[in-house]
Amino acid sequence: MTDALLEIAGLSAGYGGSRVLWDVDLNLMRGRATALIGRNGVGKTTLLHAIMGTRLASAGSLRFDGTDLSPLPPERRARAGIGFVPQGRHIFPQLTVMENLETGLSARGGRGTGGVPAHIFDLFPKLYDIRGRAGGFLSGGEQQQLAIGRALAGEPSLLLLDEPTEGIQPNVVQQIEAALAHVRDTLGMTILVVEQYLDFVWRFADDYVAMQGGRIVRAGKVAEDPAAEVAKLVQI
């Protein structure tokens, strides 16, 4: 067992004929939060989908906790312990908040028992108040909390988040930040979070990787490199 929970090597992916990711190498260390940053269209979302299996990589290898992910469909990757909070949230619109959370239980496979873990409502008390409401009627902030809660219900060891603060008001952003720091610090969860809003990730992430044109061009620790400097470098 290495220190890396996810090991990506030489990963390429694209849409039809056009290639979006070029030879991406990335290791995510256990129990650390990594910020993935870069301008619009550099391929951040594509990379998360390639990890999740909802878009297949054309080359390269993906190892999660020692197993090769490549032959596994998304549901098997989820059951192996990868939770996904996609861009746009993808809440099931006609399921209630509670039902949305319950779908997340599928990812547990054989691990864990019981219903939706209570700590999700501790992290996001609002979700409990609106548990009977249809997902499609929630505000953007509520949907984002629900999407994170749904991923956490599967008790993942790796949590992928794609722009969780997109269009969200400051106090909810703070709640999300606290929740992510909490699951990392108390559950030892590994986190990969795509973000444009650098101040937010620089407050709680440990590492960062910056993408440009489908490649990773820079990586480091957030404590060592100021956000403004990195932002300038990758032209965000």
Binding site: M52, G53, T54, P73, P74, E75, A78, R79, F84, P86, G88, R89, H90, I91, F92, P93, Q94, L95, E99, E102, T103, G104, S106, A107, R108, G109, G136, R150, G154
Partner: protein, 294 residues
């Protein structure tokens, strides 16, 4: 007036048959966007299974045993078709259409070879043979029974979809397939379960047809066209819409038969649906699924 009421009632019982025949199509189209051209043969299979069951278990309870037998038999056949053909062709809808049409022809021919082209008769048990009088209308018990079965199936489906874990997973896959798989839901297994369930309901429909007339190799063909019309008018996959469309079309067809013969009424049915879709392309009930997705 009596004639009108009588035909109205016939319309409701025809609607029940339409509903049982189309629910499976609507379910699998809603979930997988595939059309199973061999769906009519699930009705036929149900009919022959009812006939075979009654050979083994004659008497009053025979038909009640035939129903689960037909359900399970048709569900199993549906499962085989889904696993062997439809799942493998999921990215090619046109090929699915052709392949399942081929299956339909093969199954019809197999029935012809096994049981003959003339068809077999299922004798309804005595308790289904009489009739009851309701508000001056004489209603055959068998038709009342069919309506009861359709209502029970609809209630059962609603219960499964709304109150069980598998129902929750079906709704999740239906609303956002990508997200469902990323949430850990085995989407392939959900597809299979829904396809089996839909085929099983068609098998039940076959038992009901057997109560009304002979079971022939082409018995499914007579109901598959109205079933397709019901699904189209119902908004392609919505259960509520399918139910409403079945009632509207069943009553329409029955009332049309007051004035024209059966084949002309079928044609009028088609014209009616085409016109309806012109004015309301989303079907009777607008499906909110998908459009709400960000």
């Amino acid at each position: 007036m009596d004639l009108f009421l009588n035909q109205l009632f016939n319309g409701v019982s025809l609607a029940s048959l339409y509903l049982l025949a189309s629910l499976g199509l609507a379910l699998s189209f809603g979930l997988m966007r595939v059309i199973n051209m061999a769906h009519g043969e699930m009705l036929m299979l149900g009919g022959y299974l009812a006939w075979a069951t009654l050979l083994v278990v004659p008497g009053a309870a025979g038909i009640l045993i035939a129903m689960p037998v037909a359900f399970v038999g048709a569900a199993a056949m549906g499962g085989v078709i889904q696993t062997v053909l439809i799942r493998r062709l999921s990215a090619r809808p046109l090929d699915t259409l052709l392949a399942t049409w081929g299956v339909s022809l093969v199954l019809q021919q197999a029935a012809r070879d096994l049981f003959g082209a003339v068809g077999v008769e299922v004798r309804a048990p005595a308790w289904l043979e009489g009739s009851v009088e309701l508000a001056g209308v004489v209603i055959p018990t068998a038709r009342l029974f069919i309506i009861g079965v359709a209502v029970a199936v609809l209630g059962g489906l609603a219960l499964i979809l709304l109150k069980t874990r598998i129902g929750l997973l079906v709704r999740a896959v239906n609303q956002d397939r990508m997200m469902a798989s990323a949430t850990g839901i085995a989407v392939g297994r959900v597809d299979l379960a829904v396809f089996c369930l839909g085929s099983g309901v068609a098998g039940l429909a076959g038992v009901m047809l057997a109560l009304l007339g002979p079971v022939t190799p082409s018995v499914g063909q007579a109901y598959i066209i109205p079933a397709f019309l019901v699904v189209v008018m119902g908004g392609l996959g919505s259960i509520t819409g399918t139910t409403a469309a079945a009632v509207i079309l069943g009553v329409f067809a029955a009332l049309a038969q007051l004035f024209v013969d059966v084949s002309v009424s079928q044609m009028l049915l088609l014209v009616f649906v085409v016109l309806f879709i012109q004015f309301r392309p989303q079907g009777v009930v607008a499906v909110r699924t998908r459009q709400l997705d960000a």
